[in-house]
Amino acid sequence: MDRSEIIQLITFYLPDEGNNTSKKMGKKKKKNTKHKKIAGMDCSQLEKEGCDHLASNNAIKAVQFLKSALKKAKDPVQKERIRAGLFESYLAREKQLKEKSMMDEAREVFQLAMENLPKTDQITEETLALIISNCDACLACEHCSRFFDHHSPAPEFKKLLGEKLALENCWYPLDSLDNLSFLARDADLIKKAVDLMNQGDWEKAKDLMQPLPRSSPFFNLRMFCRAMVAFYEDNDADMVKALSMISKNSIFSKSAEVLLASVKTISPKDMPATAVKVKPDNPLLPVFYQNGFILHQEVESLIQEMEKKPYSTACTALISKLAVSIYPESPEKAVTFLVETIWSNDLYLSDNRIQNSYFEMTEKLINKKTEFLKSKINFMLPDNNELSNTARFIEMAEKEFSDPEELAIAKSQAVFSTIQSIRNNTDYNYSYRPLNSHDKKILGITEKNTSAILLETAYNALSIDNQNRALYQEVAETPYWSRNAKTIKEKIFILMCSAFPTDPYPFLQLATVYHRKNAYRKAENTLKKAKEIAPHDQRVLDKHVLSLLISADRNIGKKKFHLAWKDLEKADTFKSKNCNLLREEKKILCRIVEKPEIPIKVLKLKLETFSNFNRARILAILICDIEKAGKKNNLKKVNAKLASFFDTKKFKELTSSEAAALLMPMPEDWQLLFNHKEVLNLFLNNLKGLLKRLDDGDLIQVINQIIYPDICGHFIEELSDRIEKRAGNNQSRELRLEFYHASLANIKHPQKIVVNASVFYEIIDMADSDTESILKNAASILSKRSTGPFRRALENFDFEIIELIDPSWEDPFLPDFDEDFFPDMIPSPEGMESVSELFKMLDSVPDAFAKPMAKMMSKDIVSQAEELIDNCDLRGMPKGTIKNAKKELMVIPETVDMIEFINEFAKRFDLNLSKEARIFFLE
């Protein structure tokens, strides 16, 4: 290969370099050609070419050609003409640079233009306008003065020059330039007005400039000042009017655009043509506004960023910026508000990664307050450990709230939310998560059982904030059984009585507590106080009558009939329609117990004075009361006779709503006199076909309100009948009945699943979307009446849960299907394995070990049994009361289990139980 071939080869492999070189060469060549072309042209040709470029707005080429033309020109006239062209070309280029926001370059080009300023007589009005806006006031005055020597001044130029002087507050050129006297005339007034406007006193400046006519060179200034006054006064109409009178080429025109953009109360068709949209980054906006003008755009940016990458660094920056725009006085408060609002979206999200990035962001934004925010978020989440979270929140709140009153409110409000959440949440599992001593100290808890713990926490909160009416209300609705709970509730309502001395409500609540504590005299005295406060309040009257009826009931029980009649006569003196039925029932009861030999016909006649509905109610309450009053044979006979009254045909005339009302719970206070469940059982067992009289809607309503395992059978039977009669029909109503039917079967047997998931799925599959939402609603209601996995299935409307569980499932926690009942009186079933397993284990070990083990166990069992007796206030109570309590507690499967367990255990080992515990567990 020879040398030339090698070079060719290298060139082949270096194409880019070769190309670049050729490109550079080409450019240079082109440039040289252009220079050669310009050099080859004469002056006229260059001038013509330059003017052509100027006409086609090619300022750079125009300058290039005209500069060359000027160099070659010899004729002074031609020179002057070329200079004028060059001046214009520079101004055109300056304009282009300004449009590109290249302000420094534009200024330099303007200087070049001014070097080629043509003679005054050759200056056009447009050129003069440019000179005025670009030169300083002194130079502008000089040029204008010279221009006005040759031309009569147009009003627009006068105004432009006037504004220029006002802008620079430079007035001395007027002293030496006679032909600018039109400006000098108002100069003093304007000087003062400008000073005022520079102090921000637009109002005074406006008054001062009031006499200036429309023809004044300062008219634009006057109008702008008027617009500014209207702007601050939110007077859109006047602002628009003033701004519409400002000339288009005025130095105020851009400011006028910004002001017009803020107008909200004028319709677009009434706006001047100069009203245009203003970009959010318009640099004039911060001159007029502190914040907020483009807030919606900042909000949208944040939302978009959150969608793109939540809690990113960009989000952090946007939140900080937005916070300043929202509330410039205290951006940190706005930041807190924003981070909380944003997290509401992910509040129930359990993704740790997202949570971490959120808290990383909050650390940057609110730093120390993040801990309080975390405690708030935990507090709001549905958790079994509510009290612990409340303690954490209260601990953090102490740092957050500096005002002691606000802190007290925050604490009591947190306690209120907790108790409300526990009451609304059907799970009471939290009682199995013991609080640590630190949390107990924060909440001031010394009690051990659940309802007492809640009430004690409420009492502690109310002690520092006794005005929290909502918390008192919540306390009033919190069930309480143990003696300690009653004492705390008494203390709470005494506190409320002192906090609201003119309100009868706390006195009525206190009276109820006294009734529950069997402190009748205290109840009577409290009601007297309530009567003094509100003598005509129906609640007070009703409660007073009820108190007298309770007293009469007690006296009937003690066979002190003269005292009972006294109470009943006193009750007659109160106008209490709501208690009429109970009053009449107690009168009949008193008469029967006093003289059981009373002819049954007389009773029948008396009962027939009531409507069918009221008669059914009285009969049921009466039968329960007579049963309670004694076991005498003659009373039993009376009861048997009374029960036979239920057969009367007249009861078949009860309407659906009347039948439903009979089954619905009676007023809460009445339960101080009788047990609603006993009355309910009486109706269901004695009033034949009562459920048949209910239409579907009422039947469902009744189930929703009163269902518990013991009475499910009646309803299941009724639902079966209805489903059978309408077999094959899959309409919404029928599907609902089937759903209730299947659910009740599982509710009836809290310890096992009777109806499996496939049945529920079949029903749901047949339902349309509307029916499905009805079923979801029904499931949510029934979940509160059920227990264990079936309850979870109903809550989530997901029946796979019951498909997965072992049919021999046992709920490790206590159920709460009865809202009137609090499970805290039953000791934890922890450690109480099934009896058979336990005995199997004891049988498998040698006697030497089994006996001490059984002894240890019996000790535990006895302590738990005695705890239940204490919690239920059954210590020292008569046998009847203990048996009644047992009957009531038997609705809870765990009680049944416990009784069975103790019975079985007692058969094989000794149990040293108290008298009350023996009655309760072994009889």
């Binding site: 806006s133 130095i251 851009k254 004039l284 506004y289 408060k333 509401s344 979206n345």
Partner: protein
């Protein structure tokens, strides 16, 4: 809580009386029969800050309970009034000149 104060155009340390007065003034301006939507917003804002107890309650949990944060922010964007700045003639003209000449 901040949004309620912004809706009523009040400072965060406004007293109960100031809040009440502002609320009544706004209700007069936007009566329920003429501007039901606006009235509803004003009323909700007032109800959430009308006294110390409600203010503490709102401050504790209201923001975290926002149903839809996007809507909440957009509503806030509309509610925040652009705050006008006390400006001077020189500031206006100088800024105009710097930008446009």
């Amino acid at each position: 809580m901040l949004n309620a104060f912004i809706t009523l155009d009040l400072p965060l340390d406004a007293s109960d009386q100031e809040i009440r007065d502002r609320y009544l003034a706004l209700v007069k301006q936007f009566p329920p029969e003429k501007a039901p939507d606006r009235f509803h917003i004003i009323n909700n804002a007032y109800e959430s800050i009308k006294d110390k107890r409600t203010r503490v309650k709102t401050r504790m949990f209201a923001a975290l309970k926002s149903f839809n944060y996007e809507e909440e922010l957009r509503r806030l964007g509309k509610e925040v009034k652009a705050r006008k700045k006390k400006t001077t003639l020189t500031e206006i003209l100088q800024t105009s000149k710097d930008i446009y000449s």
